[in-house]
């Protein structure tokens, strides 16, 4: 997606950050791993899997990895590879919805707080403080228990946990930019607040928000799979990586693949997004543009 955009737009700045991303090892590995995860999820959406992930093959229960079942089967004879694909899709769906909600609400709140200051700033930041007063997983747990389990409620719970992070991340640069010469010049020239915000401030906030989005996606996947592991996230029969790990507890001693397959799938997604976030942070940082 980014590659296509970069070549199409051919804006010098944009292609140069993308080149910088490809130059860093963490950026490259992160891009490849994230690409793999996205591909697996898209294939699952298109039902391009070797077996239906909920189809049971009782005669083939608990088979090891083989040419027939690439990552073996679980206790109901369901194909572990296909279930990992669907689980990746479930996790990514929750993470995307959660981070989309959190980043839009949080970024708008943070920019508004930083730009307008005063009472609005105080209120937004105190609300953020209150949400920060909980360990993240506990807050998500409490919200999910209130809303009821299911993927969308899980996404909302994770979104609420991450809103204050985006608000803080976006507010910082806005505070610094508010008194920068070119913004002051715009104000003197009589530019409207929306114009100042969207044309002059938002582009400068975009970099930190993009990095935060990438890192938050990895945390969201972690949180989603943790909640699913506890039975509060994605509900069966839909496959979920956290539930697969939970189900493997009684089996993994003799049938290792039931644990290793979903564990590796989760780890690939989280490692990939973490590396991509690190790579993007370095690539988008204008102070490193000369490197």
């Amino acid at each position: 997606m980014s590659a296509a955009a970069a070549t199409l737009v051919a804006a010098p700045r944009r292609s140069s950050w993308f080149r910088r991303l490809l130059q860093s090892p963490s950026g490259r590995i992160g891009l490849v791993l994230t690409g793999l995860v996205v591909l697996a999820a898209l294939a699952a959406v298109a039902h391009l899997w070797p077996y239906d992930p909920v189809a049971q093959h009782p005669l083939d229960a608990l088979q090891g990895p083989s040419g027939k079942y690439w990552l073996g089967t679980d206790q109901f004879g369901r194909d572990v590879f296909s279930r990992c694909m669907e689980g990746t899709k479930s996790s990514l769906r929750v993470a995307l919805v959660a981070v989309a909600l959190a980043s839009s609400v949080g970024t708008i709140a943070g920019i508004a707080a930083g730009f307008f200051g005063g009472v609005l700033d105080a209120v937004v930041m105190r609300l953020a403080d209150i949400l920060f007063a909980f360990p993240a997983i506990l807050l998500a747990l409490a919200i999910v228990s209130a809303l009821g389990s299911g993927w969308f409620n899980t996404a909302i719970a994770i979104a609420i946990v991450y809103v204050p992070i985006f608000a803080r991340v976006a507010r910082g640069p806005v505070l610094a930019l508010r008194d920068v010469d070119y913004v002051r010049a715009g104000r003197v020239l009589g530019f409207s607040s929306p114009r100042l915000l969207f044309r002059h401030i938002l582009p400068n906030v975009a970099a930190v928000v993009i990095v935060q989005v990438t890192l938050s996606l990895s945390w969201a996947i972690l949180t989603e799979s943790s909640l699913s592991f506890l039975g509060l996230g994605t509900q069966p029969p839909e496959a979920s990586l956290g539930l697969m790990v939970s189900d493997s507890r009684a089996l993994a001693a003799s049938y290792w693949w039931t644990l290793v397959a979903p564990a590796v799938a989760i780890t690939i997604a989280i490692v990939g997004l973490n590396l991509l976030g690190d790579g993007l942070r370095d690539a988008l940082d204008p102070t490193r543009a000369g490197d």
Binding site: I130, F134, L138, A146, S218, S226, A253, A263, N274
Partner: protein, 346 residues
Amino acid sequence: MTEPIIEASAHHLVDDDVVIAGGRLPRFLRHWLVARLGWSIVTLLGVSILVFLVLRVVPGNQIDAAFGTEAGTLTPAQHAALAHYYGIDRSLWSQYFSWIGSVLTGNLGLALNTHLSVASMTGSALPVTVELAVLATIFGTVTGVALGLLASSRPNGVRDTVGQSIGLLALSVPGFVLGTAIVTIVAAKFNYFPNGGEYRAPWQNLSENAQQMLFPALVLGIAVAAPVMRTTRSAMIEIASRDFVRTAYGKGLSPARVLLRHELGNASIPIVTMVGIQFGYLLGGAVIVEQIFALPGIGRQVYQAIEDREYAVVQSTVLVIAAAFVLVNLLTDLVYRRIDPRVREQ
């Protein structure tokens, strides 16, 4: 521990005339503490409102929870009587104030199923979590700082790449995966089932306590070690290029002394902050590990209460955890201010 840090900090703070002396808190710190305490109380009030409101969103109510499907067979009069009994027929404000009023007098409510007070449940659960968090923090800090020092000793070298990869992996493998793997392996190989016995405090039975705590502390400690390692690495790399480090070498000090006293001394400021954040997180974030290893800690108390739909227990326990979290953050800030003279003006 504090002394070398302050001395080391003072090396590049020649323009700062005051270095904190041991003993009583300096005045600026006392003022700051009062303001910070006030803020913490306001935050906690906000937290209590949020917790209260979140749990009021719950579909169904305490009557459905207590009676299950039988709730449908209740007559309207019985329903009203029960609503009055549970206090859910009153206005939201009146419910909130009566709850917060009892909390302030030390009454955290009752679990309806077991008739145990939340205060006594918390009293037995909190020490388990605190022990777990302390052990995990010690393990995580030692490992994290050691790995961070190793990685930063030659930035971008082999050691650094290996160290950073380990750190990334530790950051990325979820606790529930690691916990499940350990339980499975340990149970299969050593025929040891962590979910077996009742919790034993260290003063009751040290060896049994160690057995119960070892693996969960390890799992949580790895999660603590990763961010501590990253913080240590970046702080050490940044500090190594500072003038006062060069001066220290120029004075002819041994590399070990410069490393430990001058570099690590200054790096300890961000490290302490990170360790504090992680410790606070463990107080409520240990819920999954407590669940896997069947440790009756505070996180498990919340989870169990959610499962049993004991909303009063969830509500008060979450408030207790948030209060502990706010307190730990306050202490972290205090330590941070104590060891870093630069921030005292703020």
